[in-house]
Amino acid sequence: MQIHWPLVISTTCQRVGLGMYLCALLINWTSGTALPMNVVSLAAIVFLGIGGVASVFHLQSPSRFFNAFSNLGSHLTQEALITPFLGIALLACGLNGFLFDIGAASFALEAAAGALALAFLVCTGLAYQMRSRPAWNTKFIIVLFLLTAAEAGSVATMAACLGLGIAIPDTLAATTITCFVLCALTQIAYTRRMRSVGYGVNVHAAERPYRTPYIAWIASGIVGTGAGISLALLLSSFEGAAFALAASALGIASWTVLFFKGALKAKMLPMYPVDLNLDI
């Protein structure tokens, strides 16, 4: 399958931004950390905005964007319907404390934005589960979308803590390590599964033409992110956390490139060597 770069950029930004918002929210609730959610919300809006602009570039006729709200059964329509509510909720969270102060109601507003952020990520993940693409015909897809968001989000929250001079809570440190390990294991399991999806479209990630994004993912998503997380946790280094965040985002992007390249369409008659796959 061709690489759809606007979608690589948009899904990466959405996972980093919304993952960060959700992790910061949960860490504030569970460990009593005082991360300023208005700043986190504004940062999430920036990521969501970049992702939104990128995804518009994917459309061939973007002037017809408003037709996207028509089919409630389509995960893309669900995603499009959630987006404005999520944007408004995040904007309200972002302005809370700057332009106005809603006091105790902040909790409800932040929770609502969190629920919408989670729903958005779930819809995006579900949109890519397709029977016609054997590599995507699996529950791995939704798990991967949520886990990558959790990993990038926890790393971003760690960077936010260190940048604002807040000590990294033990819960956050444990969450980051757990998400990183789980994410890497799930991605490895997905790569192994691609080798035997059948329908004449088995994909060996370590071979051409998948090799480059595969190596880029290992270098950035595993080695780079792991090293950055270690530096951030052992030395309380903001630079380490920032490096881990950049590496994690790059790892998600590389992984998404591999994800697209490996999503070959089921051959119609896979028992014959003729390749009907038109790579569209």
């Binding site: 006729s61 389509s74 029977r131 999503a263 089921a266 028992m271 003729v274 009907l276």
Partner: protein
Amino acid sequence: MASDEKPSEKRYGMVIDLDKCSGCQACAVACKMENDVDLGVFRSRVYRMGPIGEFPDNLEMFYFPTMCMQCEHPSCIEVCPTKATYRTEDGVVLVSANRCFGCQYCIWACPYEARTLNPNTKTVEKCTLCIHKLRRGEQPPCAYTCTTGCRVAGDMNDPASEISKVLAANEDRQYRIHPEFGNNPSVVYLIPRKGAETLCRSIGRS
């Protein structure tokens, strides 16, 4: 007919006899001409499967025409966020070019390589089964142009139609592509009597 009985709905489809197809591509050309299909866009293709095996006894080869399968449960309709893709009452899947915004999810979701993005119109195109012809009682150009008569289109729910007769006469050779996906295509292939042993073995036919 009793007053409470409703006439069964039409279900337009096509049967393609792979034993007859000679790979001449007349159907692909006729489709292009009838629908004024742009360069780089295809609604109908013919592929050659094989040759594999060894001459003279184990050689396999046949031609395989492809098009939109006009599914009963189309994946393209499920995913289309704009409802540009829809199914008519007579079972034909169509694309409304005025609603399509070119997200291409239908192309990804279709298991049958039936759709193409037209780079000129920026919308997705596919075979319409020439529904304008079928509704007038005519055959689609790909069928009437076919040099070997391997294609027959019509109402599969009408027992008196030509397609129903062809299907009834060839029950043992009927094959729908990827039935496990649950799309239930309305394009039915009649598998070749000779030259497709690998296909027959893999789908459990002798």
